[in-house]
Amino acid sequence: MRALSSLLIVAAIPAVLAVKTHDFKTCSQAGFCRRGRALSARAAENPSWKSPYSIDASSVDLSPDQAAFTAAVRSSIYPEVKFGLDVRIHDDGVVRVRMDEVDGLRQRYNEAASWALLEEPKVSQKIQWSVGKNGVRAAYGPKNGVEVDVSFEPLQVTLRRDGKEQVVLNGRGLLHMEHFRTKESVEKSKEGVEVPEEGLDTDENAQVVLRALPRTAWFEGDSEDGWWEESFNSFTDPKPRGPESLSVDIDFPNHGHVYGIPQHATRLDLPLTTGEGAHYSDPYRLYNADVFEYLADSTMSLYGSIPVMYAHSADSTVGIFNAVGSETWIDVGRPSPKSTSSHWISETGILDIFILPGPTPADIFGQYTRLTGTPALPAHWALGYHQCRWNYISSDDVRSVQKRFDEEDIPVDVFWLDIEYSEDHKYFIWDKRHFPDPVDMIHDVEAIQRKMVVIVDPHLKRTDDYPVYTQARDRGLLVKKGDGKTDYEGWCWSGSSAWVDFFHPGSWDWWKSLFKVQPQGDQWSWVESTVDTGIWNDMNEPSIFNGPEISMPRENIHHGGWEHRDLHNINGMLFSNLTSQAVMARTDPPKRPFVLTRSFYAGSQRFGAMWTGDNLGTWEHMAVGVKMVLANNIAGFSFAGSDVGGFFGNPEPEMLVRWYGVGVFSPFLRAHAHIDTKRREPYLLDEPYKSIVRDMLRLRYSMLPVWYTAFREASVTGLPVVRPHFVVFPGDENGFSLDDQFFVGGSGLLVKPVTRKGATEESVYLPAEDQVYYDYFNHNAYRSTSKGKNITVPAELHQIPLFIRGGSIIPTRERPRRSSPLMKHDPFTLRVALSNDGSARGELYLDDGETFSHRDGEFVWREFVAEKPAKKSKGVRLSSRNLAAQKPAEAVDQVALATYDSSNGFAKDVAEVRVEKVVVLGLAAKPSSITAGGKELQWTFTPGVAASDKKEGTASVLIIKDPKLSITSDWEILVQA
């Protein structure tokens, strides 16, 4: 009976909870993916396979003054079709390889990079190409160790470092750019005379058979599989432009791990999809989609796409960014444990690949974010706790939720409104029956220095009483049907709806004008709002209930005549980017905008935050959410989180508490719930759960200085805010697949959120280094070794395994407040976690948190250093130094400041903010005296394990009481022992 009932449960769950996989295509249901995989299979079967593409050596044209050349490419199977190649090397060593069809029937989509890139990258004027007999080469970098080799026949691009192959394009001959053709021309070509097959080493019999087939069959296959029309479910894609897919193999011959290509609900270290040891049968798919109740372990595409992939080994990290906007499938294989192959199959577009030479993870993030931009420095309040629900149903409901938070003294910064605030889902337009006084309501929230975020979705209700729709329609800004003339109509929350074409430049200023809170003459604008109201952009894949794969028909036409299929993955980014600009344009000077987006693309990080969409309230989703946030972070988009509690379902208290544990260590922290769920705001929890969640949220708020400092670093260097092990310890093989524990910025905090039901302890991996790690809460000292170490630590419901790496100084603000802006003048605590050599360092970045005045030098950037006063001393000298003055050019995003003025307005404003407490962990002996500026300080010392010991156990703790030192000034504390 037991067996039977458990069987029933197993059978029942997928039916109730599982995604409707049949709503979405597998590779075998997408013609071009089928063709791409078949091409790969033919190549694998044929040992003498050779790419038909080659460079016409005589056509190579080197640029006289920069590292760029162009060349003509031809394909032996279609000698009459012309292709052009353009290869250039940027200042930072990134190699860009572009190939396009020349003089074809029409232009392939070539604008993906223009949306993704921050600016046109600077081509190196130092590096030089040289033309050889077999190809074009360049060497650069330290000792000219980096070599790029573009070989003529077949066309192949290889990047080597120190003689070792790092990245190889078309090494397996899978490059194929299906040129534009017409049905008629194909029919005609079949009548042609048979030509001996190229690249195929066949015997007589086989040749006879093959001769009956088209001359291209050995390469393209013998059927026009899905060339002209495709059906899926009840939808037919007319494909008026015929086949135009793009396939390319990108191999990493010396790298056993690959990461990236979000968004997928899978492990960080990407499992294989092909060949031996394949974990999945379908390739990773990038096709932004609103996947209802998505699977927690799948290669299915989700809401966003960032086509960047990193390959990693203990001594090298490299990457590629494939600027393609159409649907793309990526097979990942591992021919040997130390090498990885990938095969990229896209529906349309030119070849536009950036090879990132590394060699370290930090280099890679620099190279990638120089291309697509670093994450925007968020408004400080946006790092606080966001409370959301579909839906807070009235302005009084919002007020009462705020009241309950304050009664329970639980910190929160933002209250959110989902779609039901709007009248008939006409976004911007308040439903006055339930929200009679929207501006007063927002002001009541803002009175506690909190903010509101209100949703604006991209589907516009087609009704004449909706100015946003009528204006877009009258200005001709709506996406068109396949005929290119008629406005497209689809079905979404608002019923019959239309979509603005944000690729249309005419939409940009118009969209910005809508968000103005001051009346704009006759022009409608959102005066029933405030300048600090943030915006939530949902459903921007776009999600269309009656469209193919719940999205837009691919034959729809955008500005410039491009088909939707060309730019589908970019579409969502444009909406949130424009919204972000619109929010910024509300004031002059602008304030930092907050816009949350569900759909995204490479470059979205410049404009806001994302979340992992409509997750389920299950332990699996909680766990995979951590991995997805990490994957997003390494792909440049750090401001990421998943819905705390799970969007669907009613989490039991244990799950909800653990989810808060995950959330307070996510860059973006928001609780959200579906309309069908029970309310679950933290104040509704019983004890002890309520107090545990309150403590977790207060922990988050105490650590806001750490998070904000990490965001500064991300905004300047591109280094992720949460960092997986391979990023921080690139040489430690044990950490390459770890994705359930991670570091917070460069702070030295290592955390492993608990995502297992019923857990009472957790196993934590300490990286391979001879170093001490302190438990953040009880100061227990653990010691790792040069081989790394697994430790088991208590993880009861109220506990989050959190460690400070020896050698770190953590600045916190420990006074609970109702919202984060109210902490502005609160004093700091410094936790000095001594390393085994008795030193430590940490950073703190502060600014006004809401404007761009930091780019004018209005900020404070400090470094705290602990070092031995003398070589054999058991004491320590703590000092506060002015990093901003030392490195003004590296201080803030977007601008390289020449100088730093320590008495800037912001620094003056917080000059009275003091360090109220210094905690030193691991001091070797009880101090004899502690002084600052010659004055004796008050302190207490609890003996324990010293950092320099070999022992484990509770570390010694020195607490210095109120040294009366300003956070903004230079100072020294001398601990003598």
């Binding site: 009840s234 209802f292 009175a447 109702r818 502005k824 003048h825 009275e912 903010v913 009481k961």
Partner: protein, 547 residues
Amino acid sequence: MHPWLLLLLPLHVLASKERLHGVRPELAARYVPTKKGSADTWQCLDGSKVIEWSAVNDDFCDCPDGSDEPGTSACPNSLFYCVNEGHIGSLIPSSRVRDGLCEPECCDGSDEAPGVCPNQCKEVGEAYRERVKAEEKLRKTGSKIRSIYVAFAQKEKKRLEQEITQTEQEITTREKEVARLKDLVERTESLSAAALEERKKSPLYQSLLTHVTALKSLQREHMKHLEREKALGDILDSLRTGYNPNYQDMAVLEAVRGWEQLAGLPHINDVGKDAEDENGELGSDDVAAAEDEEEEVDDGMWTAMQLEHQLDDLLNTDYEALLVEHDKHIGAPASPTSILFNLSAYLPDVLVPQYEAFRDQVVAVLEVLGLGKGSDPAADTSKQQKALNDAEHSLRLTRKDKEDKEQELARLFDPEWYGAEGEWKKLHGTCLEKELGDYIYEVCLFGEARQKPLRGGSTFSLGHFASWNDAPGVEKGSPAYYSKQYYKNGAKCWNGPQRSVSLDMTCGLENAVLSVGEPEKCEYEFKVTSPALCLPLNASGATREEL
């Protein structure tokens, strides 16, 4: 003065009075220093630690219980006392001390640094006192109405008691009548039982019984189908009105569309788009539907209406009485004047003697069977039986009536029903309405709550009265107990729970629904006022703070 110097000042120069900043009056006596040698010391309130007196309110948390910082935000979870001279003192969490916001609870501005917040206690205190006065006035007037309710309950008590006595008498009378009729029926039955039994053997009667059984079975099946159809219709209606397009399920959409077509309903997303158009359409649909129905009926067959309403009557026919009636009809030709007796006139003479002998035999047999002429006791029996049935039915009704009244009397002063003073009795069955959006929300107190659409569609039950506030920790009969009513087990929501309502009730001069909300799907919250909650000022034991 530079602001951060202000912050440092208390540490050195401020007098003992400052050490008492934020201490609530009842603890003031414990904030005194102890002399220990040359230094003044102080013990944390939980006794865990002794600290220097100068460390009290020095903006650094020394005591584990936070008691050394009553006047700063240095210790989490401690409380700050605002004196609020001219108003009433209040406690705020330490998290609100010196956070830059002037707390409304601290009208004296003592929660922030001097000079940040103005002292508004005079105005605030005055406004507060006026508010209290207004509240008291409301309570006073409300409690007068309430006392009328209480008096009503007393009257009800008398009325019910009286009626119960009357009903008891009525029951006695009716019991006697039933006994008399029963006796009559029994006697009549014993006389005729044998004869009736014989008649029941008639194949016609037996066949009739079989027909009845068959018809009843058919009716039962028919009812099952009707119920099933209705249930399916209800499910589809709920699906139609409640389905969530978020599920993006084309199967659901098709089901909704299919049902709308079948049931002749407009598409749900078009409802209200153009009310006039839709009404027009609906009207013509109705006519068409009615025509359809009429066309189907021919050949004298029963209509669906007849089947629904007349079949029961048919099946309730007294067949035994019919049997007797039947006798009358077929008994007529069997009488001596009937064809059997006059047949001889048509027979050839040679056969007449044989015929007459046969005829006599036949008549004798018929008489034995009781089918011939003679008295008809069966008809009497069924008439008497009907009288008895009627009398018994009346008796049952009267008894039920008595039970109901007794229950109503018991509930009258039951704290779980109309309150210890019966103050809610008056409102039993009072229906309160609130229009919101496309619906009127209605609650009939102690009865049912409903959602009635304004623009067509079906009314949904939101639940029936289930209980007062039975949350843990709420004492039965306390004011908190009567501050909430629950209505549960309403119509089930598509993909959700059964609808339910929670009434949040406060004292007010009118019985009214102030607002309706749906904080969770299909769980409604009505804010309601009623004078029944206005306790007399002296009796409530309410302190000023509670107001």
